[in-house]
Symmetry: none
Subunit: 207 residues, 4 copies
DNA sequence: GATGAATGAGAGTTCATTCAT
DNA sequence: CATGAATGAACTCTCATTCAT
């Protein structure tokens, strides 16, 4: 799976292991996945995994944490892209970045959105907080982009919209898997239109 | 959990067991849940569960199957309700029924939508097929209700809409858990508006 | 090891398991012993052991607790034996009972005195308390038997004597293993003489 | 734990390692202790420990061996002390030295007497032989000191007495931990008196 | 029909020990 | 010499599943 390379420096091995773990966790949930599988996917042995990550729980949290950072970073830099044309909608850019991430890093997204949702695991608190950050980030994005156009969007509404946007992106990503002829860009257009239209539906009085 | 009642007729006992199983499966995924827990929740012992349902896998499938029937039945009878006012939108009625089910039978829905989604379990095929039937049903509903208004809605588009509707309903149900002041009816309104607006977005030419 | 007998009632199986566990724990310390060994010695399987005793720690504690009761009971009933001759020294009778127990139930004693002494195990508190009870019991025995002869024996001195008596009995039991020609009775005589003489050493003024 | 000092001459490093190992082994038994702990206590890394001592077993044996030498040496030089007053009892001097060692080098003694007693370890033979040497030494001491006073003390009796003396010293050392107001000297007096009185008890006819 | 008892298979975790730097 | 990295083996504990009552 990975180029076999013994005696790697700390940081590198660790990233390799997280790569493997994300991939494996995207195919089964926390309980289904065995540490042996992760080790095998990383081309190493179980004790090595423990040497670097400490415990199955910490492996999982490390996965969620890292993929979370990547996602947030991707969306943020898209929204604040200094090279983007002035007249381009930053909201659409952000949503597109978000959506592109979901599609391009299918495994990451699955771990982030689907696996972290399972209740009752020992690490519920940590991952739930992580998961909330995705929607919080999206909500903030929506808020900041709509402030001028529609008056002040209530935080509560922004939250709701964010949740809808996220779950919709998830549904679209699934859709894309079964229909490879659709382009991420087309889909991103759908989501944006959808969000806009829902914004009007929510706030008919403010137009 | 259930009123202890020995020596019940076959069918009844079985339904009780499935009730308990649905409740337990809604709180943890397939692997997390133990047959012991299910037996305890049903107020009986493990071998009794096996006697009636055969194996853990078959227990789970039985849960998904039964809840599925209930959901489909609820939506269908709402759409074809003969006592409904003529001028009422059957689509909205259907969506509302669907949404109401999701909210009222939180546990059933969780098992149906979240648990059945996990890949890699031994019964993947069976439950995946079940799960697809939800969206298929919704798609059919949308198709049949929009046929006259928007020309012929492409099956493909109906499918996509169905998926969005379903995942949105899921997001809304989650939202409702955190915000008990929202009424299911309000939420149902949101979904309908959302779906309509998206229909326009998808078919701008046909208006 | 034990007569193979399937499907035993709860209590019986449990005692069998503790029997086996005592035997195994007497040959190796807490960490050396594996639950598999215990299961094998009891003629059953590992999960059965867990079914009845719960955890390795609880197995060990159960052993210590039961053997403790036995020892205390043996000494007590010897001291208060109503059929004993009036002029017989109850102290000697008690020490002899104690010593006989140590020699006859070599395994029990080893678990009680040697294994429970190891610090740093997770159950340190529980077993330490148990272990203290042996000496406390012996101290009480000594106190009650010497009260009239030597004035009031200070509790502190009784404690010290008890400790010496216990460790001496342990040494003697070891000795007996290497020299089978000595009889337990002879040894009991030694201990008594030893204790008496030491009593004089401690309280030279009261003679 | 030890002053970090790289590139030490062979012998010194080795002694430092044994120091650390004795300290660690005194707190947990052979299985509880990990080589990592020993390495950490010595302020070095695991492979270094292996480089010098070879294996966990050999580490343990090295500890026992060295502490044994120290104990024997301490007792011997006390008995044969040329500067001691002529009329002083060399037996008491020896016992006192022995007892002082037990109290002052609590960790050494624990390793020697308690840890080495566990059966079933791979090195049982070696350490058992070591352990026997303590009592043998004490027996010899007793024999040589009593030769003139009580006729010839049978070797067998000397052995028994030695065992009792040793286990009693152990009990006293424990006692001292809980009662810091007792001085080692007082205790040594107790042991000597105890041994003498027991000698009389054993050989009433030979006086 | 219903249940306490029993178990084979497997998962997470640790550790003594060895390479390779 | 000294060490971070790597691993095979073993151990505790759990669970789906089946007997025997």
């Amino acid at each position: 799976m990975t180029t076999k390379q013994r005696r790697l420096p700390r940081g590198v091995r660790e990233q390799q292991l997280i790569d493997a773990a994300v991939s494996v966790f995207s195919r089964g949930d926390y309980r289904t996945v065995s540490v042996d599988e992760i080790a095998a996917a990383a081309g190493t042995s179980k004790p090595t995994v423990y040497h670097h990550l400490g415990s199955k729980e910490r492996i999982f949290v490390a996965c969620v944490r890292r993929e979370m950072e990547r996602l947030v970073e991707a969306v943020r830099s898209a929204v604040h892209d200094p090279h983007a044309p002035r007249d381009e909608d930053p909201l659409r850019r952000g949503i597109q970045a978000f959506f592109t991430f979901v599609v391009d890093h299918r495994e990451s997204w699955t771990v982030l959105y689907r696996r972290a949702a399972v209740q009752g695991e020992p690490f519920a608190g940590e991952t739930a907080r992580m998961r909330d950050r995705v929607t919080a980030e999206v909500a903030e994005l929506i808020t900041s982009c709509t402030q001028s156009d529609y008056g002040t969007l209530e935080p509560r509404d922004a939250q709701l919209l964010a949740r809808v946007a996220v779950s919709t992106a998830d549904a679209f990503a699934d859709w894309l898997l079964d229909h490879p002829d659709e382009t991420p860009d087309t889909m991103a257009g759908h989501v944006t239109a959808l969000t806009w239209s829902h914004l009007s539906a929510r706030r008919p009085a403010s137009s």
